[in-house]
């Protein structure tokens, strides 16, 4: 009997995280498959007759930025061949030349027998364009482009550019291509992370390190499980700190995996993972509009194991949303929120709300093209509050449009404000679990059973679940990278995808029905309030029914919760496939 239940337990242990992560995977695979499509920036149309104004020196800003200096260099050295728009030596550009100078390769000009003060242009086929879709194909990133410019340009006097001049020309070239992040100054420390095209270089392989880590952790987990198993109540060793965080012993019937699903424990584990990986990301992340996306690009492509750290953070966050929802559903479907656990249920609901806000602010920290519309819609929803809307917007964003102040605030909320509240609530939630009499009431027929399990056994079980969850997390992090697009720019027409993050797709779908305040603010709020009122307004499960799934007493609440979850899932699917 004991062995079969242990078998079921271990099988269940394996299933849950796989299921939870699998569900997330399906959601994200679909999101990744339809990931943003980048269109080339529309090249300005040629004017019918050549406008001499195009030959004027570029306007200079005061003080000039790197790209402004580059524009001046380009105008002086590069423009006559590569064109005023980087179009290369096209017929349209040749039209700007005096009629007698339009054949560059004619005898005495830039042909084989070039004149004394001139030089030979070897490429009769044409001077390449340096801006537009598919151009500069051989350079992966700004570092390579700069290297080439430094060594090979200008054509008649290669190597004559000073280092700073070359960087300026590189910056201007990127700007012509619409790929220069706002306000950045190119240099050796960042150029390798700034792509000339939107094709992210594959991050260095993190498999060996990650697998070694997984193997070591796995062995350690086995060690802990073996260790704890030897304990009997008669000869208990001294508890270590982790053991000490648990009650000395709990009734065996309370810790049934088929009842708890381990969802709450997993949520704590994912929260800890998020805390640690988030802390590591903070060493590199720069919360400024110009550098945010670039700093993430640096984390994912250049920093050793940076990609792994970021992906672990990302996948833990997605998994956390899923297991918290599962946890909520479990509590409702078992009627476990009946008094005295009503208050702790509210704390849990508060935590779920905080987690969604943390996910959303974390998502915004990317500050790349992928978040553009979610940012616009999310903050504009604040404006829809009657009477106080504008002030509320300013209160959250620190300005009248999303900019540096808003990013600083989202960062502060994400890493400290919301995280601090979440930590407090988690501790309170765990404290209330113990004060309210443990994780669950055993079912009536097992309440007489006085057998208890020690904290050593409890930790052993937790380690087992954590080991499986870690394996899933590592696997997802290695196989499916977290999304990142090009830095948010001024040009609003570069992106095709306009979907909200997956956990808000249902709200985005509802927003199509009209009134933004009603569907974007009031309805989600009502969903949370309705869930919060379940134990207070609807009949609760009777004490005699607790400890089992689907007690009769709170069937109404179960039906309501399932209805809400089904509706949200349905809307999410609709929102995921907008066309």
């Amino acid at each position: 009997m004991a062995s079969t239940s242990r078998f079921k337990l271990s099988r269940g242990l394996l299933l849950l995280p796989v299921l939870a992560l699998g569900l997330g995977g399906v959601l994200f695979a679909s999101a990744a498959a339809a990931s943003p499509v980048y269109q080339a920036n529309a090249t300005p149309q040629a004017t019918p007759t050549f406008d001499p104004k195009r030959l004027e020196p570029p306007p200079t800003n005061n003080p000039p930025g790197q790209a402004d200096k580059g524009a001046l260099q380009y105008w002086g050295m590069c423009m006559s061949c590569h064109g005023d728009r980087g179009q290369g030596l096209t017929d349209e550009w040749l039209a700007s030349f005096p009629a007698e100078e339009r054949d560059c390769w004619q005898s005495g000009c830039h042909g084989k027998d070039y004149s004394q003060n001139s030089f030979e242009l070897p490429v009769q086929s044409g001077i390449p364009a340096i801006a537009g879709a598919g151009k500069l194909g051989r350079f992966e990133n700004a570092l390579q482009l700069n290297q080439y410019i430094l060594e090979s340009m200008p054509w008649w006097n290669p190597g004559s550019l000073e280092t700073q001049e070359a960087w300026a020309v590189t910056a201007y070239t990127l700007k012509l291509n619409g790929n220069l992040p706002l306000g950045i100054s190119l240099s050796e420390t960042n150029a390798a992370a700034i792509p000339v095209h939107r094709s992210v270089t594959a991050p260095p392989s993190e498999w060996p390190g990650a697998l070694a880590l997984a193997a070591l952790l796995g062995l350690a987990a086995v060690g802990i499980m073996k260790q704890s198993r030897q304990n009997t109540l008669s000869a208990l060793p001294k508890p270590n700190f982790v053991h000490h965080l648990h009650p000395p012993s709990i009734p065996a019937a309370q810790a049934r995996f088929r009842y708890t699903l381990g969802a709450g424990g997993l949520a704590v584990f994912f929260s800890l993972t998020l805390f640690v990986t988030g802390l590591l990301e903070m060493y590199y992340y720069v919360p400024s509009p110009e550098r945010a996306a670039i700093s993430i690009e640096i984390i994912t492509t250049l920093v050793p194991y940076g990609n792994l750290v970021r992906n672990l953070h990302y996948w833990s966050a997605q998994a956390l949303v899923l297991v918290t929802m599962l946890h909520l559903l479990r509590v409702v479907l078992t009627g476990a929120y009946a008094p005295p656990r009503r208050f702790n249920y509210l704390l849990g609901l508060g935590l779920l709300t905080l987690i969604l806000l943390l996910d959303f602010t974390g998502y915004l920290l990317r500050w790349d093209e992928g978040i553009r519309w979610a940012l616009v819609v999310g903050v504009n929803l604040l404006k829809t509050f009657p009477l106080v809307g504008e002030r509320f917007y300013q209160f959250i964003l620190g300005g009248t449009q999303p900019g540096a102040a808003a990013l600083t605030r989202f960062y502060a909320w994400h890493v400290l404000g919301l995280t601090g509240c979440a930590i407090l609530l988690i501790i309170w939630h765990l404290f209330r679990v113990r004060r309210d009499g443990g994780i669950a009431v055993p079912p009536p027929d097992e309440r007489a059973d006085k057998s208890r399990i020690t904290r050593f056994e409890l930790v052993r079980r937790e380690v087992a679940v954590i080991a499986v969850a870690s394996a899933g997390l590592l696997l997802f992090s290695l196989l499916l990278p977290a999304p990142l697009a090009q830095p948010l720019s001024d040009n609003a027409l570069v992106l095709g995808d306009s979907r909200a993050p997956w956990f808000f797709l249902w709200i985005q779908k509802m927003l199509q029905w009209g009134n933004p305040f009603l569907w974007g603010v009031l309805t989600p709020l009502l969903v949370v309030i309705a869930l919060g009122l379940l134990p207070y307004l609807l009949p609760n499960a009777q004490p005699g029914e607790l400890g089992r799934w689907f007690p009769r007493g709170n069937r109404l609440a179960q039906a309501l919760a399932l209805l809400i979850v089904t509706a949200i899932l349905f809307l999410t699917v609709l929102g995921a496939f907008p066309h």
Binding site: F395, G399, Q508, Q512, P516
Partner: protein
């Protein structure tokens, strides 16, 4: 056990205790409200500069008669109808995404609103038409756009 006699010392103590508890709670409550009010004012200070509201669109000659020009960075669409310049904001009136050209009209990528060429709503959820903006041909032949001011059309 408490008698109704107001001279009963136990009763007096109880009253005193209750009174003290009530006042301290009230004081804490007031302090909390005051702190909250301070926090709201603290966080309400706008450090972000106000967005640009006047744009130089360049020579009017770049907008020949019959042309329709989209400036996605502002974002705005400028028409030249037989020498008369009109401009419409491309910010969706529903929740502020930038609408994209869709045939003759415009479509919003976020929630599917669609607008006619002249900004009129073709399909919700947006209820208001795209904002017509004041655009002016200056004496030096350049066009100037005012995103704060609505044109009367």
């Amino acid at each position: 056990m408490a008698t109704r006699n107001s001279q009963d010392p136990n009763r007096l103590y109880a009253d005193r205790r209750n009174f003290l508890k009530l006042t301290t709670n009230a004081l804490f409550g007031l302090a909390g409200l005051l702190g909250l009010g301070g926090l709201v004012r603290f966080l309400g200070y706008p450090t972000e500069p106000a967005p640009q509201t006047e744009f130089d669109l360049g020579p009017a000659a770049n907008f020949p008669p019959g042309s329709r020009t989209v400036r996605a960075d502002i974002p705005v669409v400028i028409y030249n109808t037989d020498g008369v310049f009109t401009a419409y904001s491309l910010i969706c009136t529903h929740l502020g995404c930038t609408v994209e050209a869709d045939g003759q009209g415009f479509a919003c990528p976020c929630h599917g609103s669609r607008f006619e060429q002249d900004g009129a709503v073709l399909q919700g959820p947006a209820k208001q038409p795209l904002r017509p903006l004041r655009v002016e041909a200056l004496e030096d032949g350049r066009l100037k756009l005012f995103t704060q001011e609505e044109a009367d059309i």
